[in-house]
Amino acid sequence: MGEGSLAKQITDYIIKNKESHYRLAFSYVKNSDDALEVVQESIYKAISTMNTLKTPEYLQTWFYRIVINTAIDLLRKYKKIVVMDDETIARYDSGTVDHYEDIDLQKALDNLPIQYHSVIVLRFFEDLKIEEIAVILDENVNTIKTRLYKSLRMLRIQMND
């Protein structure tokens, strides 16, 4: 397959799925300007690293990964987030049930540490498989499963279910 047809597939994919990419970016950066910037930057990155895409089957996971990394980079630039490792996060999870009765769902999701946010968005909103999420987030399948479980638990706690 020539480069031309891969380029065409990528272009078509990017145009067709621009709204998904925008939503995904927005879920991290939380405002329209930054989300647009992330989408734009992701396209530049994707195209300049086109040769890292092995086969078009992986287009979606490959591009999602770029979007998420770009969004996190932007947040980091603004120092809006600190990426924590799983042990640190676990310490935040007291295991007891806190009561935030009026907190709304969106807030609960937004308050999740970034890696946990990613897992929820990809699994439940984007309906991706655990294996695909593992590829996107560059973690092994078991880590993703653990995070998914923990993030649900954290959401439940925050939402006082």
């Binding site: 480069e3 031309g4 380029a7 065409k8 990528i10 272009t11 078509d12 990017i14 145009i15 621009k18 709204e19 925008y22 939503r23 927005f26 879920s27 329209s32 300007d33 647009l36 910037e37 989408v39 734009q40 930057e41 396209i43 530049y44 195209i47 300049s48 690293t49 086109m50 040769n51 769902l105 969106q106 999701l109 929820i120 968005v121 439940f124 909103f125 649900l152 959401l155 439940r156 939402m159 279910d161």
Partner: protein
């Protein structure tokens, strides 16, 4: 139930309103990064189409500017040659309305004996500023009619060099439509003889185009070797897309002379590199061009 809550969250996620600019931003990014469904042969054509569509959007975007331009507000005074020649802000056009923002500063040069030169430069700056302002107003009007979008324009100037001999002024225009594009234009004046210095006027003949271009290509490749984040569309760097490769500068390429007396060639965003590189500049080592310079008066 957890499921219900997740369903609700998912609905919120999916219901996010998509800004109108998204399509434009995506298509522009695709075009600018050189990846396009069109064949290689039509690249030049495509670029000019891209340029045209940018111009069109520019017009659409230029929306609200306030109605009373501040007249001759002396924001910056840069004394030159014993305070005789000055660059100052002649006019300022501002708009500040929710999602529409513009700030256009029009520079003016004062104090040249050569009034023809002074007037022609100032007239050019004024016309350009006015055009930006009017375009932005038109775009803002359209933006309002279609219900919004973030539009911004920021234009101003910076004095690149100001010494006994040389005055180099750079004027920039940043267009914001979610993402941004940046343009820079320069004028360089010989303060002693009071003439505008053009790129061809510095050299004995037209060979400078090839000599400078070769040097820039070398610099691009070297920079990329040292840091692979520095990416240019040039032969010698492995290309991923189908971008048109940089061949040579134009005879009237953007340039200025820096404080060290070195020739600096400037390229606008997307001219020779992907957008993340922004405006790129190359300082041309004087020994590369010393044989073809008309004199060493300006460039040292």
């Amino acid at each position: 139930m957890m499921d219900e809550k997740l369903e609700k969250l998912k609905k919120e996620y999916m219901d996010l309103s998509i800004p109108e600019e998204l399509d434009y931003v995506v298509r522009k990014a695709l075009k600018k990064s050189g990846l396009n469904i069109m064949s290689k042969k039509s690249i030049i054509k495509r670029i000019s189409i891209a340029a045209a569509s940018i111009a069109a959007v520019f017009v659409v975007l230029t929306v609200g500017v306030n109605t009373s331009p501040v007249f001759a507000e002396t924001i910056s005074k840069i004394p030159i040659v014993g305070n005789i020649v000055k660059v100052l802000t002649f006019k300022e056009y501002n708009i500040n309305e929710d999602t529409f923002n513009s700030n256009i500063k029009v520079p003016a040069i004062h104090g040249l004996e050569n009034k023809t030169l002074e007037n022609s430069l100032n007239e050019k700056y004024l016309q350009e500023g006015k055009k930006l302002y009017e375009d932005f107003q038109a775009d803002m009007k359209k933006g309002k009619e279609t219900g919004g979008g973030h539009l911004g324009i920021n234009s101003g100037y910076e004095v690149k060099t100001d010494n006994d001999r040389i005055l180099s002024i750079g004027r920039y225009t940043v267009n914001t439509v979610g993402s941004s594009s940046t343009e820079m234009k320069y004028d360089t004046i010989d303060k002693k003889n009071e003439i505008l210095i053009t790129l061809p006027s510095l050299f004995k003949d037209d060979n400078y185009v090839d000599i400078i271009s070769e040097n820039i290509k070398q610099q691009m490749v070297e920079q990329n070797k040292a840091d692979n984040q520095k990416f240019y569309w040039v032969e010698g760097i492995e290309q991923d897309g189908m971008s048109e490769l940089f061949e040579k500068i134009s005879g009237e390429q953007n340039f200025y002379i820096n404080a060290e007396g070195k020739l600096v060639i400037s390229f606008n965003k997307y001219e020779v590199a992907p957008g993340y590189m922004g405006i790129v500049e190359f300082v041309i080592p004087t020994d590369v061009i010393s044989d073809i310079l008309v004199s060493n008066e300006y460039i040292k």
